[in-house]
């Protein structure tokens, strides 16, 4: 079961492990003629980056209660390393090697392999599961999409796309509704629904930034859990560098010991 993966795969995971990124290819194509699947694929195709370094924070909030997780992440060709830097979790690291995930405990200075069902657990108490970090399936493999509308959202023209889970595919959300920026191909808003049609979660991109290579990237987004009152998680990227120099051995078990 791909618990909690859909929203996070497309939006939030990108900020945790930089498995995906959002790129701006250009608007020379006849965007108006794009089908729903083409729009989603344009977004998906843009959302893979070969290599990056990021400093970010994750703010988990419920009512007045608030906790902050800070992290530094590196990613390169399917491998990723995230180190938490906030006091509670300082020195805790997650290493993703292909489909394998390892966790480094700073107090014991030891590595433990994260296995099976554990991958669906929330990472560091957040709403983002380990599996979200490993998930790499294309949205179009899991859902059938159709264009339902065009709307202006926060001053940006968007395509409104609805996706329904394909028969036999195990997904956490039966339906999803995505607002995709017509020029930048960034998902600006996403609604995730249960099988009975109930709205479970809403993700909103609240800030995007243009990088040197004309690449637009969401640098702040908020996910709101609709089942829990006043509950939200905010991801905020503080520093992002594409194609950085990453020291050899960064993504090896040896590098953590």
């Amino acid at each position: 079961m791909l618990e909690n993966s859909a929203l996070k795969r497309t939006v939030l995971l990108s900020l945790v492990f930089l498995l995906i990124g959002v790129g701006f290819i250009g608007t020379s194509l006849q965007a108006q003629d794009l089908t729903a699947e083409e729009i989603v694929n344009r977004r998906d195709d843009n959302e893979y980056i070969l290599s990056a370094r990021m400093e970010a924070e994750m703010i988990i909030q419920k009512g007045e209660r608030r906790t902050v997780k800070e992290m530094i992440s590196y990613s390169q060709e399917g491998n990723a390393l995230t180190e938490f830097t906030n006091p509670r979790d300082r020195g805790t690291k997650y290493l993703k090697q292909g489909e394998e995930l390892w966790m480094y405990f700073p107090d014991a200075e030891d590595l433990v392999r994260i296995s099976g069902h554990m991958l669906r657990q929330g990472m560091m108490g957040s709403d983002f599961s380990y599996q979200d970090m490993l998930e790499s399936e294309q949205l179009t493999d899991l859902y059938s999409f159709e264009r339902v509308d065009e709307e202006e959202l926060n001053g940006r023209p968007t395509y409104v796309i609805e996706g329904t889970a394909k028969e036999g595919k195990e997904v956490a959300y039966q339906q999803r509704k995505i607002w995709v920026d017509q020029e930048r191909f960034i998902g600006l808003r996403e609604e995730l629904y249960a099988r009975n049609g109930r709205l479970l979660k809403v993700a909103r991109v609240t800030e995007v930034e243009e990088f040197d290579d004309d690449r637009w990237y969401p640098v702040e987004m908020v996910m709101e859990d609709q089942l829990m009152e006043n509950s939200s998680t905010t991801f905020r990227i503080q520093e992002l560098e594409f194609n950085p120099e990453i020291p050899e051995g960064t993504f090896s078990l040896e590098g953590l010991q």
């Binding site: 419920k62 509670r88 394998e100 405990f105 433990v112 669906r120 657990q121 089942l227 078990l253 010991q257």
Partner: protein
């Protein structure tokens, strides 16, 4: 004791001197935690007792270079009537060279594979029992060598007492051979235990997946030096999780493991106290032929967890139950409420409750 203190003092001076001469000074960061705890214990004898303590752990994040890594963590506390204690939790220098490193001083040595209790660890640590972990610090030298592809070899020499005899030294080695979807190790340890006796342990550990279930285990051999006392050990463990709630919004986790001395000639009491790593309040449970441990937990929300830890011997029907509740209050503050219930084979029941606040900085 005085001699030990002198040697520790000398060691610290050398440690600091090496740091100063090894490179340009950089900013030193400080982090740690402060833990204030109060408890009530109601034993089967009926005499209620209380305990109050405040403990602190402070780590200086010292500058490192490509070849030299220092680590300095101190800990101390005030208990009940004002008794104080202070110690170095970790104090070491690590020298790196290509695919290997050598660590000298008081350091953590953990040979984890996901079990709550690892009977083939170098010390005696606890992992994730009632949301707590204990890693003992070892005074010694550890050599790590990478064999490539995640595989590694470690060798450890420990000295329980700085003024002890050569024959007191402990030795251990671990060959770790992880592969796709599993982690496998071969461990061997020889250490002094209480009473001046030497315990030899050797065996293998494994962790992997069996469908949606995480499985792990140990098989090994214990031998008491210069005696006819020996035994085979086996440990089988699993962990699993599932969802509850109308929208599968609540995850429940369970981990259980069973440990047994096959012949029944030895017990876990032989490894208790190795480097001070025994779990407080559970020592009395670890002297039987076998031990079953289970840990059940769930998150109420992003900030709050509840759980129940159970320890049980089959031989004496001794049972320990530890319900616990933890809550992240934000701002680096965490609240913990914990109960305990112990029933022995004579049906005597002792209970306790404790509450504490931890501040991380």
């Amino acid at each position: 004791m005085k001699r030990t203190q002198q040697l520790l003092g000398l060691g610290l001076i050398i440690f600091l001197a090496i740091l100063v001469v090894s490179g340009p000074a950089e900013a030193v960061d400080i982090g740690g935690e402060i833990n204030v705890n109060a408890g009530l214990i109601y034993p089967s004898t009926g005499d209620i007792s209380t305990s109050i303590s405040a403990e602190a752990e402070l780590e200086l994040y010292l500058p490192t270079s490509e070849t030299l890594e220092p680590r300095l963590v101190v800990q101390g506390g005030i208990r009940n009537q004002g008794q104080t204690d202070f110690s170095f939790k970790y104090l070491y220098l690590r020298s790196r060279l290509n695919s290997s490193h050598l660590t000298l001083g008081r350091q953590p040595v953990s040979w984890s594979y996901g079990a709550i209790i690892n009977p083939l660890d170098f010390g005696f640590g606890i992992e994730g029992l009632a949301d707590r972990s204990i890693t003992p610090g070892i005074d010694g030298a550890r050599y790590y060598h990478s064999l490539g592809s995640g595989r590694s070899f470690q060798a450890v020499i420990s000295w329980p007492d700085l003024t002890g005899e050569f024959t007191d030294l402990g030795y251990g080695a671990r060959l770790r051979l992880p592969g796709q979807g599993y982690d496998f190790s071969l461990n061997a340890v020889s250490q002094e235990i209480a009473g001046g006796r030497r315990l030899h342990r050797a065996g293998m550990t494994y962790s992997g997946d069996l469908g949606p279930i995480g499985v792990y285990g140990t098989a090994g051999y214990y031998n008491l030096h210069e005696s006819s006392l020996d035994d085979w050990i086996i440990q089988l463990g699993m962990d699993y999780s599932w969802f509850l709630g109308e929208f599968d919004q609540r995850r429940v986790n369970i981990q259980g493991e069973y440990f047994r001395f096959i012949k029944g000639d030895m017990n876990l009491g032989y490894v208790l106290g190795l480097a001070g790593g025994g779990a407080p309040g559970t020592q009395f449970m670890l002297a039987g032929q076998d031990l079953f441990i289970a840990n059940l937990s769930t998150s109420l929300d992003s900030f709050t967890n509840i759980g129940l830890a159970l320890l049980k011997e089959s031989s004496g029907w001794n049972v320990v139950a530890v319900p616990y509740y933890t809550s992240d209050l934000g701002g680096g503050l965490e609240f913990r409420l914990e109960g305990s219930l112990y029933r022995d084979q004579a049906d005597n029941i002792s209970t306790g409750v404790s509450a504490g606040m931890i501040y991380y900085f």
